[in-house]
C-alpha cells in the first residue's frame, strides 16, 4: 500500500516541555515517551493543556522550554510542514473551497509527489475510508461522520509518519462516534502508524488506546494502559476521572500487615490495602460504584456499610442507586440490570466491597474538592 511506503515508524519524546500563555502555564514540565506504532491517548478535562501538548508536537506552537523529538530528530523550531505529521482537527478543518478529492490529495500535491502518485494515494485512502463514491462532494455536502473520515484520509494521504488527532470525534453524534473510534484505531493499526489522540472522553480513550496519559492543569498525572489506570490509579483525580469513584473520608484506625482499618466519618469501619500510611493519618478511600455488592436489609458482611436507597435510575445495561449511609455520606452504586434484584427508594440496604478493590490515598493538602475539580 502506497501510503505505508517509505515510512519509518517514529516514536515521540517530550523532555521537560513547558508552554506558557502569559501567566497561564498550559503545559508544565511534561516528559512523555510515545512508542512506535502505539495508539496513545492524552486524556483530561477541558483546559488541562492536552490540545496545547498536541499542537506542540505538530509544531503549530513552539515550547518555551524543553525538547521534542520525533524519531531521532529534535523538532524544536522545525515548521509543521517539515515534521511529517498528520493532524486531524476537532472541527476537521476541511478546506471548504475544495471537494473531498482535492482535500485528500492536497498533501501529496503540495509535497510535490507528482500527479500520478498523488492520485494513486488519493484513491487508496478514499477506498480505505469507504468514501470513493463521494469524492466530488464539498465539505458542506458531507455528514459529520463523512467529514471526519475525509479528514483522517487527508492526514493519511500526506504520508504522515505520525497521526495527531485533536478530539476527532467530539463533533459527532454518540452513535457515529462509537463506530468511528474503532475505525480510526483499525486504520492506524493497519498502516502501522503511531497515533496520538486527544480526548476528554474517558470511555473513548479506554476503548481504543494502547496507553493513556491523564493530564490536569498542564501536568501529566499518570501514564499507563487503560487497565492499569482503572485498576491502579495513582491519584484521587485519576481514580475519579477514569471510571468514577465514591470518595469516603476517614483516618487509619489500625494497621494489620498489608491491611488497614479505616474509620470513616460517624465511626463506620472498613478495611483496605494500605499504601504506606501510618496510624492516625487522614485518608480518602476510593470505591468504584460497580465494586459494591448491594443486598437487601442489614447484613453483617465483612466490609459492610448500611444505608437507605435515596435515588434510583435505570440506565439500560445498569441500574444506578444513590445510597445514604448511616454517617450521612452519599454513595453511588451501579449494578447490572439483568443480573440482580432491584431495590426501591427508601429501602434499607447493605453495601460491601473487597478491600483489594478499593484505593486508599493520603488526604490531599488542598482538600478533596480541589483535588477533584476538573476546571
Amino acid at each position: 500500500m502506497e501510503v505505508k511506503e517509505g515510512i519509518s515508524m517514529p516514536d515521540v519524546r517530550l523532555v521537560n516541555v513547558t508552554k506558557k500563555f502569559g501567566k497561564i502555564v498550559a503545559v508544565d514540565n511534561v516528559s512523555l515517551h510515545i512508542k512506535d506504532k502505539e495508539y496513545f491517548s492524552i486524556l483530561g478535562p477541558s483546559g488541562c493543556g492536552k490540545t496545547t501538548l498536541l499542537r506542540l508536537i505538530a509544531g503549530l506552537i513552539e515550547p518555551d522550554e524543553g525538547e521534542i523529538y520525533i524519531g531521532d530528530r529534535r523538532v524544536n523550531n522545525v515548521p509543521p510542514e517539515d515534521r511529517d505529521v498528520g493532524f486531524v482537527f476537532q472541527t476537521f478543518a476541511l478546506f471548504p473551497h475544495m471537494n473531498a478529492w482535492e482535500n485528500v490529495t492536497y498533501g501529496p500535491r503540495v509535497k510535490g509527489f507528482g500527479m500520478q502518485k498523488a492520485e494513486r494515494i488519493g484513491h487508496e485512502v478514499l477506498e480505505m475510508v469507504r468514501l470513493h463514491e463521494r469524492l466530488d462532494a464539498f465539505p458542506s455536502e458531507l455528514s459529520g461522520g463523512m467529514m471526519q473520515r475525509v479528514a483522517v484520509a487527508r492526514a493519511l494521504a500526506a504520508g504522515a509518519k505520525l497521526l495527531l488527532l485533536d478530539e476527532p470525534l467530539g463533533h459527532l453524534d454518540a452513535k457515529v462516534r462509537n463506530e468511528l473510534r474503532y475505525e480510526v484505531r483499525r486504520m492506524t493499526k493497519d498502516l502501522e502508524l503511531t497515533a496520538i489522540h486527544v480526548t476528554h472522553d474517558q470511555s473513548e480513550a479506554m476503548a481504543i488506546s494502547d496507553r493513556i496519559a491523564v493530564m490536569k492543569k498542564g501536568k501529566v498525572l499518570q501514564v499507563g494502559t487503560p487497565q492499569e489506570l482503572y485498576m491502579n490509579p495513582q491519584s484521587i483525580f485519576v481514580a475519579n476521572f477514569i471510571g468514577g469513584s465514591n470518595f469516603l473520608e476517614g483516618f487509619i484506625a489500625e494497621t494489620k500487615g498489608r491491611m488497614s482499618v479505616i474509620e470513616l466519618r460517624g465511626g463506620l469501619k472498613v478495611q483496605a490495602v494500605n499504601k504506606g500510611m501510618g496510624k492516625g493519618e487522614r485518608v480518602v478511600l476510593a470505591v468504584r460504584p460497580e465494586t459494591f455488592t448491594i443486598k437487601r436489609g442489614k447484613d453483617a458482611d465483612e466490609n459492610a456499610l448500611f444505608g437507605v436507597v435515596e435515588r434510583f435510575a435505570f440506565e439500560g445495561t445498569n441500574v444506578r442507586y444513590e445510597v445514604r449511609l448511616e454517617n450521612q455520606d452519599l454513595v453511588v452504586v451501579v449494578a447490572p440490570s439483568m443480573a440482580c434484584e432491584w431495590f426501591n427508594i427508601g429501602e434499607r440496604v447493605t453495601l460491601s466491597f473487597q478491600p483489594e478493590n478499593a484505593h486508599l490515598f493520603a488526604y490531599p493538602e488542598l482538600g478533596l474538592r480541589e483535588e477533584l475539580a476538573v476546571e
Partner: protein
C-alpha cells in the same frame, strides 16, 4: 426615550400591519428615492442623445473618455488588490505591536477627504514643494499617471480594510491544517487562504473599481488634459446635454455589466491551487523572502500612499504661521464661501447619515433576515447598484429627473437625495452583514422569553450590531463629506470639496498656502469627528 413610549412601540411592533408597514415604507423609499430616479432621469433625456450621434468628433471624445475610465478602473483595482494583500497580511497576521499602528495608519487616506487627497498628491508629485524638488523638475505631471496614482491611493485603504476583515474572520485552522499536510506558508496562503477569502478579494476589487469609476473632484485636480468619463460629464454637462446623457448611460450600463460579470464569474474563477511548486515556494516562504516582501510593502505604503496623502498638511502648517490663518478666521475673501461650504458639507453629511439610519436599517433587516422571502434576495442585489453606478452619472440623471418632474424641489433637497442615493448601499451593506452574523436563535430565544419584535431589536440586535451601525454611519458621513462629482452635477450649491476644486483649478483666486490651509481645516475637522466617533464606539469600530 420615555419608558411608556418604548413600551407602546414594543406592543405596536408585534402587529403584522405595523411590522410589514415599516418594511414596505423602507422598500418604497428605496425605489422612490434611490433606484428609480437615476434610471428615469436618463429615460427622460433619451431623445437628447441624438446630438452626439451626428457629431463624430464629440462621439470619439466621449468614447475615449469612457474607455479611459474603464481601463483606469480595472488597472488600478488589480494593482490595489495586489498591493493590499501583503499589507493586509502584515496587519492581520503580525503579532507585533507595530501592526496596530500600521492598522491605524492604513486608514489615513480614508479620513482625508478625496478632494484634499487630490491636492495633496498634486503637491507631492508635481509641484516644486514636493518630491519633485529632488529631481530638478516635475516628477509626475498632471495626466493619466497622476490620476492612476490618485485612484490607487484612495482605494488602497478600502481594499486593505476589506482583506484585513476577511483574514481576521477566517478560521486559522485551515492554514494550520495545510501546514501539517506539508504546505509551506506561501503555498498555504496561495492555495488555501486566498481560495477561502476569494469573495472578499472580489468585493475589494469591486469597491476599488466602483470608486475609481465614480471619483470626480480630486481627479479633476490632477487630470491635466486627460479626460475620463466623469471629467467629460463635468466638461460637457452645460454645453452638450445629449453627450452627458450618452456617457452617463454607458458608464452605468457597462459598470452594471462588469459588476454582474464579476459576481457571476468570480464565483467560478478558480485560483491556481491545483498545482504546487514545492521547491520554489519553499524558498519564497521563509524569513529572507518574507522580510523582502514586507519591506517592499511598507515602502510602497509610506512612499506611494501615506506621505503623499498627508502632504497637503505641510502648507497648512506654513499658512498657520502667516496672516492667512487670521484672514481665514475673519472670513476675508475667499474664506467666507469656504466656511459656508464647510457648514453645508457637515450638515449635509449629518442629515444624510440620519436618513440612512432611518430608511436603511429596516432594509438591512429585510435583506439579512430574508423578511420578504424571494423579494429579499432581489433587494439584496439591487441595493448594491448605487455603489456601482458612477456618482457623477448618478448626479446627472438625478438632476434631470428631479428638475424635470418636480422643478420646485429646492437645490438643498436635491443634494440630500443625491448623497442619500450614493451612500445608501454603504450603510445597508454594513448593517446587513452585521445582522447576518447574529444567530437567528438569539432572536428566537428573545421572542420565546416574551420580547416583542421592537424589544428584540432594542435588547438583542442593536447591542450586538451597534459597532457596525457606527461603522456604517462613519462610512456614510465620510463618503458624503468627500463627494464631489454628483454634488457638482446635481446643483450649483458648493460643498467644501467643490470649493477646493474651484480654488485648485483657478476658478477662484486662491494662493497655494490658502488651498493648503483649506485642506488642513477639512482634514482636521474630519479627523476630530472620526476620532470622537471612534472613542464613542470604544475603539472597536471599523469604518
Amino acid at each position: 426615550m420615555p419608558k411608556k413610549f418604548v413600551e407602546k412601540l414594543d406592543r405596536l411592533s408585534s402587529r403584522p400591519m405595523v411590522k410589514y408597514g415599516v418594511y414596505l415604507v423602507a422598500v418604497i423609499l428605496f425605489f422612490a428615492l434611490i433606484l428609480v430616479p437615476p434610471i428615469l432621469g436618463i429615460v427622460i433625456k433619451w431623445s437628447s442623445m441624438q446630438e452626439i450621434f451626428g457629431n463624430s468628433q464629440l462621439m470619439n471624445r466621449a468614447l475615449d473618455a469612457v474607455k479611459n475610465s474603464f481601463v483606469m478602473a480595472v488597472l488600478v483595482s488589480i494593482l490595489d488588490v495586489a498591493a493590499g494583500i501583503p499589507m493586509a497580511w502584515l496587519i492581520a497576521r503580525s503579532r507585533s505591536k507595530w501592526a496596530n499602528i500600521l492598522d491605524t495608519l492604513a486608514d489615513v487616506p480614508f479620513i482625508v477627504p478625496t478632494a484634499v487627497l487630490g491636492y495633496s498628491l498634486l503637491l507631492f508629485w508635481y509641484r516644486p514643494e514636493g518630491i519633485s524638488a529632488f529631481f530638478g523638475g516635475s516628477l509626475v505631471s498632471p495626466g493619466w499617471f497622476l490620476v492612476a496614482l490618485l485612484h490607487f491611493t484612495f482605494s488602497y485603504p478600502v481594499v486593505v480594510r476589506v482583506i484585513v476583515g476577511a483574514l481576521l474572520d477566517y478560521k486559522i485552522e485551515y492554514e494550520q491544517a495545510a501546514r501539517t499536510l506539508g504546505a509551506p506558508p506561501f503555498t498555504t496562503a496561495r492555495t488555501v487562504t486566498f481560495g477561502i477569502i476569494k469573495p472578499s478579494l472580489i468585493a475589494a476589487f469591486i469597491l476599488a473599481f466602483a470608486r475609481s469609476i465614480s471619483e470626480t473632484g480630486a481627479t479633476m485636480m490632477v487630470a491635466g488634459a486627460f479626460e475620463n468619463g466623469p471629467i467629460f460629464i463635468q466638461n460637457t454637462k452645460d454645453v452638450y446635454v445629449g453627450a452627458t446623457v450618452f456617457v452617463s448611460l454607458i458608464l452605468i450600463v457597462v459598470s452594471c455589466l462588469i459588476f454582474a460579470a464579476v459576481r457571476v464569474l468570480g464565483g467560478k474563477l478558480k485560483l491556481p491551487f491545483k498545482k504546487a511548486w514545492p521547491t520554489v515556494e519553499r524558498k519564497i516562504s521563509y524569513s529572507s523572502a518574507a522580510m523582502t516582501r514586507n519591506g517592499i510593502t511598507l515602502l510602497t505604503f509610506f512612499i506611494i500612499i501615506l506621505i503623499p496623502s498627508l502632504f497637503a498638511a505641510l502648507p497648512a502648517f506654513k499658512a498657520a504661521s502667516t496672516d492667512i490663518l487670521h484672514n481665514a478666521l475673519l472670513g476675508v475673501y475667499p474664506w467666507g464661501e469656504y466656511w459656508q461650504s464647510l457648514v453645508l458639507s457637515y450638515s449635509l453629511g449629518a442629515a444624510v447619515t440620519v436618513l440612512n439610519v432611518l430608511i436603511g436599517l429596516p432594509m438591512a433587516i429585510i435583506v439579512a433576515r430574508k423578511r420578504l422571502g424571494k423579494t429579499s434576495s432581489a433587494l439584496n442585489v439591487l441595493v448594491d447598484i448605487p455603489i456601482i453606478v458612477p456618482s457623477v452619472a448618478l448626479g446627472v440623471s438625478l438632476r434631470f429627473f428631479w428638475k424635470e418632474t418636480l422643478a420646485f424641489i429646492p437645490d438643498i433637497l436635491l443634494l440630500v437625495f443625491a448623497h442619500l442615493a450614493i451612500t445608501y448601499p454603504y450603510f445597508v451593506r454594513s448593517m446587513s452583514a452585521a445582522v447576518e452574523r447574529i444567530s437567528i436563535e438569539l432572536e428566537e430565544a428573545s421572542r420565546t422569553l416574551g420580547a416583542k419584535p421592537f424589544c428584540v431589536f432594542r435588547t438583542v440586535i442593536f447591542p450586538l450590531t451597534k459597532y457596525s451601525m457606527f461603522s456604517g454611519a462613519i462610512m456614510v458621513f465620510t463618503r458624503s463629506v468627500s463627494e464631489t462629482g454628483a454634488t457638482m452635477a446635481v446643483t450649483s450649491l458648493k460643498t467644501t470639496p467643490v470649493v477646493l476644486v474651484d480654488w485648485v483649478k483657478g476658478k477662484i483666486a486662491a494662493t497655494s498656502l490658502e488651498i493648503g490651509l483649506g485642506c488642513g481645516f477639512l482634514i482636521l475637522i474630519s479627523f476630530i469627528i472620526l476620532l470622537a466617533l471612534r472613542l464613542i464606539v470604544g475603539g472597536k469600530g471599523r469604518y
